[in-house]
Symmetry: D2
Subunit: 378 residues, 4 copies
Amino acid sequence: MILATPLSDEDCGAQSMPDASPVKWHLAHTSWFFETFILEVYEPDFAPFHPAFRVLFNSYYEGVGDKHPRPQRGMLTRPSLAEIRAYRANVDLRMQALLLSDICDDNCLRLLELGMQHEQQHQELILTDVKHLLSLNPLKPAYLPRALQAMPVQTELEWNTFDAGVVEIGYRNGGFCFDNELPSHRQFVESFAIGSRLISNIEYLMFVEQGGYENPAYWLSAGWDWRSSNQIAHPLYWQRQDDGAWREFTLHGMLPLDPHAAVLHLSYYEADAFARWAGARLPTEAEWEYAVGELGNEGRQFFGTAWQWTSSSYAPYPGYAIPDGAVGEYNGKFMVNQYVLRGSSGATPLGHSRASYRNFFPATACWQYSGIRLARSL
Amino acid sequence: MILATPLSDEDCGAQSMPDASPVKWHLAHTSWFFETFILEVYEPDFAPFHPAFRVLFNSYYEGVGDKHPRPQRGMLTRPSLAEIRAYRANVDLRMQALLLSDICDDNCLRLLELGMQHEQQHQELILTDVKHLLSLNPLKPAYLPRALQAMPVQTELEWNTFDAGVVEIGYRNGGFCFDNELPSHRQFVESFAIGSRLISNIEYLMFVEQGGYENPAYWLSAGWDWRSSNQIAHPLYWQRQDDGAWREFTLHGMLPLDPHAAVLHLSYYEADAFARWAGARLPTEAEWEYAVGELGNEGRQFFGTAWQWTSSSYAPYPGYAIPDGAVGEYNGKFMVNQYVLRGSSGATPLGHSRASYRNFFPATACWQYSGIRLARSL
Amino acid sequence: MILATPLSDEDCGAQSMPDASPVKWHLAHTSWFFETFILEVYEPDFAPFHPAFRVLFNSYYEGVGDKHPRPQRGMLTRPSLAEIRAYRANVDLRMQALLLSDICDDNCLRLLELGMQHEQQHQELILTDVKHLLSLNPLKPAYLPRALQAMPVQTELEWNTFDAGVVEIGYRNGGFCFDNELPSHRQFVESFAIGSRLISNIEYLMFVEQGGYENPAYWLSAGWDWRSSNQIAHPLYWQRQDDGAWREFTLHGMLPLDPHAAVLHLSYYEADAFARWAGARLPTEAEWEYAVGELGNEGRQFFGTAWQWTSSSYAPYPGYAIPDGAVGEYNGKFMVNQYVLRGSSGATPLGHSRASYRNFFPATACWQYSGIRLARSL
Amino acid sequence: MILATPLSDEDCGAQSMPDASPVKWHLAHTSWFFETFILEVYEPDFAPFHPAFRVLFNSYYEGVGDKHPRPQRGMLTRPSLAEIRAYRANVDLRMQALLLSDICDDNCLRLLELGMQHEQQHQELILTDVKHLLSLNPLKPAYLPRALQAMPVQTELEWNTFDAGVVEIGYRNGGFCFDNELPSHRQFVESFAIGSRLISNIEYLMFVEQGGYENPAYWLSAGWDWRSSNQIAHPLYWQRQDDGAWREFTLHGMLPLDPHAAVLHLSYYEADAFARWAGARLPTEAEWEYAVGELGNEGRQFFGTAWQWTSSSYAPYPGYAIPDGAVGEYNGKFMVNQYVLRGSSGATPLGHSRASYRNFFPATACWQYSGIRLARSL
């Protein structure tokens, strides 16, 4: 809720593209998750807050029944933001009552954990979706005033090398993880090297200025078509000014491009083309996860700066089992035509930064905080 | 502004389809018209309220320069509704000052008149656009509480007949009219008959229930394709309930279909198909205008109930001259692939109900209050 | 059939766009017309040549039943061209037998006349469709060798003027005409002037070179959008060479643009924009028909050079009645969102050149031999 | 060339969808490959057969320059099929002369091998593309008369099991292979079982008849959307007759569905949904390749019946290097958003059936001979 503070009611209601959702919808949907998957099952004398909400705020759970069409979420000017706030307060109260009772069994607690993790994922989406909405506005409004920031000191890019071998992949500590991080299993990685930090704006700018976007030799065929039909010549939020200087749209409005900050908001196609131009490639998710395990805190910028595209298609781990019931639609049914991103961004809630976490988006997605870490085969 | 009273800030910001605009945008655009076409020319030391508004609230005037893309109007969550209100107040004050000065010459007064007529046209659009937006909401909210209404008494449909002859068409009184009503000129009409009232819901329901939407013999070829690819089987805001009864979405929410009220929200294709089914046709705009001139107050439902489709394509009158300057883009450039509607609806501001007034929409438009008056050749 | 002589089997089978049809399909469809509307009714012991042809070669007659989807006509590599030739020969023989018998009554003879007129219309379409197909081929092949042609002598454009008055419009001689030319009726025309000849390539080239395609002031709003989204900057078959000279694709291959020949292959939008640029307008169809009646043979280029766009939307004449049966779908159901062209082109069969003949196409169509005759109100 | 024997010139010229090409184009393109990549480099005094062919018959090689737009290949009625035949004969002769000379070095011989393998790939595409074209024809013509076929005896589906371990993947014999089969490398596979044969029509029919296409629980989310928006309810070439019996379009025309033959022409989405319904999954490509290596000739239907979808996204092997020059565009640039199929079909040239061969198509493709082999984790 705190995330909505700098936003007007109007900001919270608008939907900037079918891939994004209104802030208001995120707020309602995360409470809907608790109401539908926990309260509806465990609350004695359950009665829905509003019967229509079951459909209105269902994202994609076919097992729950009908759902409001995704591209039409911006049309829901009613219920109002105030009503959504009341809905959230009501669900919170009912959840508290449930937890104080002895009704909530182990499965209930697992769903509670999942619901909170789910809400945290949506907190990140609120920031990326608001950024996209505001970027479309010719006034280029800021979401937040600009905090003073020390200029990051750019270090030399180094290569950490690893020998070939069988490695253990997937979550294997106690505590919460998503189903797509399981089961822990073995993979063989051939020897490889991975970059010591993310690619910076100035490095990516060299690619832009040396004609990287005009040379099909660097691009996947589908990436070249995407670039051509969308007339893409630079990262999503970059803008070249009349004087030739580059600026970047941020949650603090338009700012001069910071040369040593990590380049952000790239599609898979752009990340892959840059890597080829640089004589390298993207890491696989196994290489990435293994490197983090080995390097530990030595590794720079694994977490907290940008999601890092891997060359791995989003697929189930060997032995992966979809959970029963509608909650089973959480991850498994999206395992096609998407690519895995590893790490986390500055917008990611803290608890989501772990080596086994798998984020995923289509190759064309660039409204997320997505960047580049290079790798090489040895 | 009074029209926005029952609406939340969120309601005012949403755009339900490219053809419609957010209420907020209508409010800003009508003041933009005064600022751009009058204040910018006549105001001493003119300075714009906000430099970006010239582009943001330009509807389609190429002569004014760039314009914000029409389908993106719903993305303008900034400026806020409060800022738009401040903009309107500011323009109003400056217009008052201008009018109290001796600067405003005859041309200025003509533009003032045009600006006020323009604003009235947008008042009607606000109502039709809000209706469309609310109709998309599964909660089917009401814009206004329902006033008590006496059931209209349905009269027999009669035919008023007219002999062939040369008739005078177009505006020829003093006072304001739009350029497209000029010049007054002569047309020859062969003898014809025109219906004494509009077609009612119950009459249109017969067409629906006797398979009117399933028989291509009643339809123009393009209309049949429109019906098929949009899966249309009844008027836009009608809904058949599980028990078979029909309801209609209105600005008062969902209401039972009133059998004797005029049928509304038809496309040209539907109006034309109904007419063929009924063994009649739509009137030409010359026939309609001539009939109103002859029948005067005897004619029922010419004004204030529904815009009435004519079979006349929207075209310039002989000798029509486009006004100089950007204001010249008001009407003339739309004279292709649209059909003329005559009369006025319950949402039309009073001063717009006159015999020579020409409304116009594409053959597919049905979100306006558009209905049917029949005609026949004799 | 003679029209297909310069074409290979492959040429005859290809469909260059949904609006066009393969030559083979034209050949089959015109015989289908005789088989379906005459033989099926009058032939004793009627048996179809091939049961599937009834569906395959139905163009748009809903009353006849199913039809093969229009954009899929190029997929019909079977039946082969040879089989279509056999079909045509078979229908011709059966038609001859029918005519030698005493079975063919007056209605049958009327259908025979319509069938022959229909086939002549398709002869023109074969030429325009083949031209479009060959124009898409990078080899720019010629349909016919180039005949020697005298350079046409360009005359001064003069204006023929006419007084206002009631004029008689529509076909009123004996002999055949299409239903859309009826009934003959009266219209009032205000005084006007009409150009003594068509607009030439050199005149249209001035419009192009003086930025006519870059200035929205000359264009209808929908025309400007059409131009922009299709990136149109000159007539369909023109091509600017590297040396700046213009060439034009013709049925004789690419030829240098003939400056004094009539400009051809314009959309309604282009014709209308040119007229506005030239300080004139397009004629209405009543003006055009009246002028031809008055000027007779004095009028230059009314027939045989180019179809001439009028500003009249294609609509039924007062009292127009759709013929009974499936043949009634011939004209009436297309009377929306199309504009009337008058005259005839060099590809038009001779008997179709008459003052009352109404050709019609959407405002975007430019693969027909369509040109410009200007008019002015006085 | 022999493949074109049962086809008319018209059949050879038509293009049934952007994904498919006309037979004539395949014939020209495969010779173009030899002329462009070999003759142009090695032939003394090289002169192209026709200068325009370099562009016309370039499939997707950006390094070669412009190319004719893929969806427009069916418009190329010129050059004629006879001219293409002459082109092929000419290239064949020049290639023979080159090979008899001492000019052709090792690299030249490698390109020759690649050119022949490339032509064999297109032989298979000719069959699948012709099948698709003929299937669109309502006459459902046969490409070949039906050979007598013994009814295949259906065996019980058994599971071959394998222990976890590091396996060697990729081509490692002498002789030709494609670049995407290299380098040979190690992968770890967890223990798994793989089906002893392909899924049959009768087994797939159970999925259809038990509502497999109506239950979202079996489908990937993107697959469910694909099914819904294309209204897919059975495999591409199946057709349910009025009497409820199923028929299948084949190169021999419509035939009764053979219950014990392998189900064919499935998309990845359908294969994946069937596997989930059956309580199994698709194999990874490493599992598939390892199983073939172990089972050798014991394995049933690995080759010659159907390409078998794997769950592996098409990606480069570790250490994969794109060959230099335009030939480098052969495989690598397509490694995104496609899935690997292993094995071979009845239309595959003999030499292409090997354990390491990687075919690949988007998840929506179903006009290839693609079927299902199941797997399970243990």
